[in-house]
Amino acid sequence: MTSVISRRTLLAAAAAFGMLSVSVAPASAADTIKVGTFLAVTGPASFLGDPELKTLQMYVDKINDSGGVLGKKLELVHYDTAADPNKAVTFVKRLLDQDEVDVLLGGSASGETLAVMPMVEKAEIPYISFAGARKIVDPVQKWTFKTPHTDTMACQKIFEDMKKRGLTKIGMISGTDGFGASMQAECKAEAGKYGVNILVDETYGPKDTDMTAQLTKIKATAGVQAVLNPGFGQGPAIVTKNFKQLGLNVPLYQSHGVASKKFIELAGDAAEGVRLPAAALLVADKLPDSDPQKKVVTAYTAEFGAKYGAEAVSTFGGHAYDGLMLIVDAYKRAGSTDKAKVRDALEATKGYVGTGGVVTFSATDHMGLDLSAFRMLEIRHGDWTLVN
């Protein structure tokens, strides 16, 4: 019996060491462009990282099948950060020092992007992030770019719409999760510029199941003409339902955080008439043919949808698509794989039409989007409708 156990033990030990000795791939060959990427494919932000990675893999293959870039094949080197900034730092060190990649894409969440930025700047390598925070590009860092719009822009889009409708006195109810808290702060900072007064400012926990108390307070505040709800996940759906139940008859604005069919499903009839800003990708089929983004968003939706199912299409995958295409475009214009030349070409990007909007980078703007990147939507008959 003892010998059986010890033999098994040895076997297990041998297997473990066998794993440990899996060797690391050698340095890059000159006929490939190594695209390093680190995404939160698992963990709490997997809803970001998963479509991002799938998008990158799909389009890298597609680009390689049609001849690659500058006659070189793209080689994707990927690590999963599980949205942990600590892991992201280690993996980026690995991408830079061991894999010696030519360009860096990714960082699904803001935390991991901000964590690796000092290293990227030191390593002097072109880098495009897929994360939202404004801090990533403000102040502008030489080597860091990003594709998604910011919370600030969502606030601006909402206030712009309110102003158009003559709504200047509003109540806010925000989630205390990272997304809600960040957008709450940004909206409060922006409101004044649009002549919007926030009369009452309430919050709720991300796991709360009833927001009647907060909404009652908003209802009781005299002069509230509209309500804004920055939040993410199920919270906004509950707010929307409670809002209807309490009979608040002022317009309700949601954020881009709930720009998914799931929200309409959860909120049901109560969602009728709710307005929210969202990327063009979400309403690809409803855009007029004259829309500059129509072609790219319908193509992406069709291609990604064909491979992974239509319900898997999300704006997050779109951010990754834009990142990859922007860098490919920069390589082509630079005509070389020299990191400094590629960065310069990237910064000179002008009028690139992507899924997130029309991108024009400059030395002072490494996000390159304006408010036209957001469309104002209204929920009518359980579906999105474009509002002009």
Partner: protein, 320 residues
């Protein structure tokens, strides 16, 4: 081999040699980074092993202590310009004090209840770090200035390696000394049977509190250093999963074995890096290895390996 493991100085010498020679095999910044992270984890796990392995008390809240110290160092150094070393010591004192204050009520609990209480502590700290965005930067985290001692600035992973290596050696030395002292014997008595220990006159509460504070201070020192090393901190570092990972390192390496704690940290820090080569199967294989180790080496790697060696050698002797 047995004499090497059981003899304190030989073991320490071996560790010193390994730490001194390892850089010869490390090719680049990334590999040094992994070595530094192994060192950080190993120091925390050595402290935690004293608590779990020797005193028999579980803690799922040590990431909270690490997080507190990390943020204390980050905020005082980056915002208020304190010398990093002063911040580190102040953080260690504060965290030690906090651990001391909560240790008495918390350590009255046993088993699952103790785990729950420490878990709660960790989560409270994590929530505070997330919510106090004005101070901590909230969920997005904050940048941290580099570690300086006088005019000397520690930036490169190679430089950090020597500091962390020295601290790891010191932590092992401290832990071995403690275990071989009357305190260590008292702790083992507590682990064996708290009632019996009390009957023979061991002040069990005092020893439990002491080792709880000590392990919290270990985590605190690592927290401060890690914040400077990574030059960025976020609330995730103080999260529940980090605490669980350390407990796994203790159990995997072998409870009540200081070198086991080091081995546990080495394996669990390096293995995910090695397994990335397997891409989609990474998590599956990782889980499989963990399961195999737990089924085949239930006492942890180092104690099981030690037992195996003893059995082999006694068989060899019997054969003569």
């Amino acid at each position: 081999m047995r004499s090497v493991l059981s003899s304190r100085w030989a073991g320490l010498l071996l560790l010193a040699v390994v730490i001194a020679l390892l850089p010869l095999g490390l090719k680049n910044n990334f590999q040094f980074d992994i070595a530094v992270r192994i060192g950080f984890n190993a120091i925390v796990v050595i402290g935690l092993n004293l608590l779990i392995g020797y005193a028999g008390q579980i803690s799922l809240g040590h990431a909270g202590f690490l997080g507190l110290a990390a943020y204390f160092s980050a905020i005082t150094v980056t915002r208020y310009g304190w010398p990093p070393l002063v911040s580190l010591l102040a953080a260690a004192t504060l965290v030690g004090l906090l651990a001391f204050i909560i240790a008495r009520p918390v350590l009255r609990l046993k088993g699952h209840y103790l785990a729950m209480a420490t878990l709660g502590l960790g989560i409270i700290i994590s929530i505070v770090l997330n919510q106090e965005a004005g101070l901590t930067g909230g969920p997005d985290g904050m940048a941290v200035d580099p570690f300086t001692i006088g005019a000397f600035k520690l930036v490169k992973a190679r430089e950090w390696y020597w500091l962390v290596g020295a601290l790891l050696w010191l932590a092992v030395w401290l832990s071995l000394n403690l275990i071989d002292s009357p305190v260590g014997r008292a702790l083992r008595a507590v682990h064996g049977s708290e009632v019996a220990a009390e009957v023979v006159g061991v002040d069990t509460t005092r020893y439990k509190v002491m080792v709880f504070v000590l392990s919290a201070v270990f985590a605190s020192v690592v927290g401060s250093l890690q914040a400077h090393y990574v030059s960025f901190i976020s609330p995730q570092q103080a999260g529940f999963f980090q605490s669980v990972e350390w407990v796994i390192m203790v159990v995997l390496g072998g409870m009540a074995s200081t070198y086991g704690a080091v081995i546990g940290a080495v394996i669990l820090t390096a293995l995910p890096q090695v397994l990335t080569a397997l891409e989609d199967y990474e998590h599956m294989i990782f889980g499989l290895i963990m399961m195999l180790v737990m089924i085949l080496l239930p006492k942890g790697i180092v104690p099981s390996a030690g037992a195996l060696l003893r059995r082999v050698s006694s068989k060899a002797e019997g054969g003569k």
